[in-house]
Symmetry: C2
Amino acid sequence: MRIVVLAGGIGGARFLRGLKQAVPDADITVIGNTGDDIHLFGLKVCPDLDTVMYTLGGGIDEEQGWGRTDETFHLKEELAAYGVGPDWFGLGDRDFATHIVRTQMLGAGFPLSAVTEALCDRWQPGVRLIPMTDDRVETHVAVTLPDSGSAAGSGERKAVHFQEYWVRLRASVPAEAVVPVGAEQAKPAPGVLEAIAEADVILFPPSNPVVSVGTILAVPGIREAIADAGVPVIGLSPIVGDAPVRGMADKVLAAVGVESTAPAVAEHYGSGLLDGWLVDTVDAGCVERVEAAGIRCRAVPLMMTDVDAAARMAREALTLAEEVRAV
Amino acid sequence: MRIVVLAGGIGGARFLRGLKQAVPDADITVIGNTGDDIHLFGLKVCPDLDTVMYTLGGGIDEEQGWGRTDETFHLKEELAAYGVGPDWFGLGDRDFATHIVRTQMLGAGFPLSAVTEALCDRWQPGVRLIPMTDDRVETHVAVTLPDSGSAAGSGERKAVHFQEYWVRLRASVPAEAVVPVGAEQAKPAPGVLEAIAEADVILFPPSNPVVSVGTILAVPGIREAIADAGVPVIGLSPIVGDAPVRGMADKVLAAVGVESTAPAVAEHYGSGLLDGWLVDTVDAGCVERVEAAGIRCRAVPLMMTDVDAAARMAREALTLAEEVRAV
């Protein structure tokens, strides 16, 4: 079975670990979001690709879900001592090696997809991990930062890098718009469209529908290829009981005018793209609404408390795919 | 008192620490060797500048004389796990920060002299540290590497970077030639010639006369400025009792046809450049030979066993400078 998964960071990575356990013999291609990539200290950092790679390769910090296990932060301490920022992005000593190797290879002329393959040679994630594009796409968020003087309603309107919004500001101000800068001019990386065309099933894990899966779909050709693939496309809701399972998806959903509910996210993807949608059992009441939108829907437990739970979710998604295929 | 010191790495740095203790109110400008700079993992590494900066700024690993105190090597371990070399150069996690900041500033268009000044803002070495040049100079060593098959006399003749000769090969094969590649086209960094012209005394610490002091003198204009400064130029022998105090200076002295003795090094610099020369007490027998070459010479203890010993050496050098001046 050939499975294509569109993945963001932590949620996507943990779902993938469950999927590998559920169907160990499947041929899994992961199309990774690169819209949250950032240049820090002259180095190219790809947080979502690395989270998938480290999680599936056994190098992840399990507790926080990103970064390396057994990590130290001496280099970061020294950068701070030099007064060189930003200081809000948590790069550890071991993690830095990945960014140094990546930056050196990019500088030598290799595209990001080739670099990612080389990094995965070490990590052996057991999936084929491809960045959505080799071109530069950078998700920016329009915000109004409160004035320090702060008359009500005043403030500085500006666009910040997604990481600055997410990590530095911790989504503490509303996202007024989310723009994947460069996406319109980007081309899918080599292998992306081929993997979609050859897939038996396509999965959207419970990743952020705007800044993770949405950014991947914003690369011209990917959405169309998925819609035209003629195989079941199944998603898992990242919203459980009107709140994101993790992260701050509600903030960026508001920016695109979508309410933070499981059925609203399904409708946002739309029946032209999505064939099946899993919601959590607490959202069982909305199954009818989703199905009325032309998307087959089931309510199952969607909390990835451990790998077994993620594997059960993956099996439910594949079961729903078979139902869709049988229609 | 304005003092200019031409410094290599460990020997130069330790001598400078003694000099600062001996004359705390002196205005000291250090012209640092950059011929042993190397690009590693896409980063610009300046071993001699950093050794001076860390030693005088209190960040040096005292025991080994280079690198940072309280250092860890997690990043390096990870690079090895990625199969990315070289693995023979010891870069620690804390040390990496210096190279990352430097590389980022160079990439932003700052010359090495401005970058070095910025790094010293943190370390406050108590001297003005200027690289000999902002241009790229890279010391290469011609060697014949033994064949693995190894019929006697056969072997591969090649030029290796000085660091590869020194650190990786540990000077285990003869240096057939030492070439500061790029030196002929290099210009002294801003401030170098001015500092020499305004100096009251110029010192050559017990640094390597070929690949440290010699490389600095190879930048057109520096040797001439020193010879024409009209102030005492005093050197300290890095050779004690026919062997280098540390390092493998004998190997590179042989490459330039100079025997590894204290008087031979003085003659190599020559009376056109050098006014005074300190040899160790074990070499007292060669004082006459040095003076016969037109260089005033004294025999004093030259082992830098601690900061006090280095300070005593610095005082002897300044005393000899006064003797020269009084003539």
